[in-house]
Symmetry: C2
Subunit: 439 residues, 2 copies
């Protein structure tokens, strides 16, 4: 599912929208002589030609007088190629060694970009995880960063070099190579930006910003100029692939402004920043549909204290996140308990709940894969009553039935039939006036 | 040129030769519970299937009770693939970055072999250059090893692990990745073996040992059971590709026995060891032909003191090794000065000498590429007079004209026309009775 991430062809007309805040973007972009961290993803360095383009871009930034740290992913396809070799040898390959294997991908792209920068006359040095002293815990394949030697990186910058850091990788206290999990290069970039106290962390990618909704569903979706960390977190957890949740959390923690922009154009993208920098709060920033959700219903569960806990405890133990929960009112001392889980957890969840049916004396378990969760997100909801009600009304007026509802401070989600998902997104996007103005 | 390195199909009948020493090979092979370093080259780890085969071999050695350190090259073709990307970006790619780029190749093969060993139930860990603390100087692309943390490696072995070390790479004092130059994995293996005081360093390769001559030229060439470091050095410098010169020098310095053997058979290969371990000295151990040599002649050089130095000094400054030198007797106060250089240095050497012609008042420079150097090598020559004379007689009896001669303590070389090179090898190989007995 690709959400909020539009190919460059969609951009244009941005900034003239209705609900978007006219905020002071320039103030949190690069100033003269600032320290910029730029992250380039796998497609941006996916070939030697693309590496040449990225190098030109980095060189331009350097020549404008900025200090630049570049964080790169592996060339597109390389990580999968390496992983597949490991999996071909073993059904459960040693995780320490998988990290050694797969981290070579970023090593190659970092070296190639440094070579090309030197070729352009820009002094540049690649740095691997252990060279940049990116210290992590020792959980291979999904390590978390503990510390980064920001002082060391800054003094390397002072010598006039562009630093090209291999993303996604670090080293544990014993010198073992660790990796941060899929999309970990975003996290590397934000953590490095925080460690060196960069002015901005630019996430350069194959889309040109964060959109009000999936432009594939709503062609008049608009690129968002500025969005708060909280909104971005909600959108990321709803499936917007443009930024990893952990990298947004980290940026929020360190108040590091992110600039999500295209690797292949110099157009301004989307700034992710503190809510207080948004001069005017947007009520609804974006609309999302999560089609990778599955509904499970335990039928005729005896309605006595503790029975609900006995369903959810084993799911929690299995590390399965339950999203929406609906408990119907009791009939004849029995109740139907419905909840949703992500598609990837659905089989395990179903098995666990089915195993419980007998012990809790329920009637059975019903699974429904044909559901979707549509959500509206916006910090303005905190102070504006009636936004949720307006959402329900828009759906009802378009004959879309709501099966369940969940809310947070800045988000309202409705579970609906999957077949109506795209239409629901369009209805809400138009209803909250998020689109580009006609004409 | 492939010399002394025979595909496995050639092996058989070895040890019944005439001139070979019946030495105590077993004494310097593995004993029970010994510490073995095994090096596998690029073709030996060139595919996942081959890595499976190598892992089985390592596992067998481990299960026999030995401690094992494996040193691996990059998968065949990978180093060239990586280098070509760097060269595609730049005509003079930054050498520091080329080392980062190319060292990823050994990282991948080390990780894959460790994964497969773990899959076989053998505890194994990969170690990169910096993890094994292989400290080198800072000459990128052709660094020399300064120290290796043998104590650290030994204590890692004590925990029961097989260590899989990425060959060819090290780290300088500042933590930059360095590489040891082509074939550097041999050097890595020998240096590691010396540092941990291994009992033997096994060079496992796609040939099954060192041969009396190129089996492609002499089908009855025989695998040598045991050869001295000095002989191996001479053979390596004559173009025998089976071992890097530097690795042999290093083995000699540390008196580390080498065992050159096939990666794909358990047959004994060739032991390279101290001369004193050779129970019976061979007079001639092997015959080689170097066809990559070029003859340059400076015509009618004025014959006065210092003129020869003025020719060779600029060559030395350009780091060009001059091999054979012949100065004819003077005629009318002029002389012809002839010398040979390797083919890869020939263009540069010719240019340098041509530039000199005017200043030294010579007549001109003549170049001849159609020459070859045939050599016989053997420690027994030290104590046996007449070996060189016998070589000249054998060539003369077969109408092969000798254009120049050079000798060392254990080697005699003759420059001849290239078209006779293979025949000269056969004549000498038979004449010194090096072949397998007929039968």
């Amino acid at each position: 599912m690709q959400l909020f991430a539009s190919p460059s062809k969609y951009h244009g007309n941005e900034g003239r929208g209705v609900a978007v805040a006219p905020l002071n973007v320039a103030a949190i972009l690069r100033r003269p002589m600032s320290l910029v961290v730029q992250k380039y993803g796998g497609t941006s360095v996916g070939s030697l030609d693309r590496i040449r383009i990225v190098a030109e871009r980095v060189a331009d930034t350097y020549r404008e007088g900025h200090q630049v740290i570049v964080v790169v992913s592996a060339m597109a396809g390389e990580t999968d190629r390496l992983l597949s070799m490991g999996w071909e040898l073993s059904d459960g390959p040693a995780e320490r060694e998988m990290d050694v294997l797969v981290s070579s991908g970023e090593q190659v792209s970092a070296a190639l970009l440094a070579i090309q920068l030197n070729e352009l006359g820009v002094p540049a040095r690649s740095l691997l995880g252990h060279q940049a002293r990116i210290l992590t815990d020792n959980v291979h394949r999904k390590a978390r960063i503990r510390t980064i030697d920001g002082t060391g990186l800054r003094s390397s910058l002072e010598t006039g070099n562009v630093l090209v850091v291999a993303g996604f990788q670090g080293t544990d206290a014993y010198g073992n190579i660790t990796t941060l999990g899929r999309g970990g290069s975003d996290t590397s970039a934000v953590a490095i930006a925080a460690a060196v106290k960069a002015d901005v962390c630019e996430i350069c990618t194959d889309v040109d910003g964060v959109y009000t909704t999936d432009p594939g569903v709503c062609p008049n979706a608009r690129k968002i100029k500025c969005i708060s960390y909280e909104e971005m977190l909600e959108l990321s957890s709803l499936g917007a692939k443009v930024l990893q949740i952990r990298s947004v959390e980290l940026a929020m923690k360190h108040r590091m402004p992110l600039h999500v922009r295209s690797s292949f154009s110099k157009a301004e993208g989307t700034i992710v920043t503190d809510e207080e920098h948004l001069l005017e709060k947007v009520i609804v920033a974006g609309v999302a549909a999560d089609k990778k959700t599955v509904k499970l219903t335990v039928r005729a569960l005896p309605d006595h204290p503790g029975v609900v806990a006995s369903v959810f405890e084993p799911l929690a133990e299995a590390n399965i996140s339950v999203d929406m929960i609906i408990q119907n009112v009791s009939k004849e001392e029995h109740t139907d308990l419905t909840f949703t889980v992500s598609r990837e957890d659905a089989d395990r969840a179903e098995r666990i709940v089915k195993d419980l049916v007998e012990s809790v004396d329920a009637e059975g378990v019903v699974r429904d894969d044909a559901v979707a969760k549509v959500s509206i997100v916006g910090v303005g909801m905190r102070n504006h009553a009636g936004i949720a009600a307006r959402m329900f009304r828009l759906l009802a007026d378009n004959d879309i039935n709501i099966e369940a509802i969940s809310t947070s401070e800045i988000k309202t989600s409705c579970l609906i039939e999957a077949e109506h998902a795209d239409r629901a997104v369009a209805v809400l996007h138009d209803g909250f006036a998020l689109g580009k103005p006609a004409g």
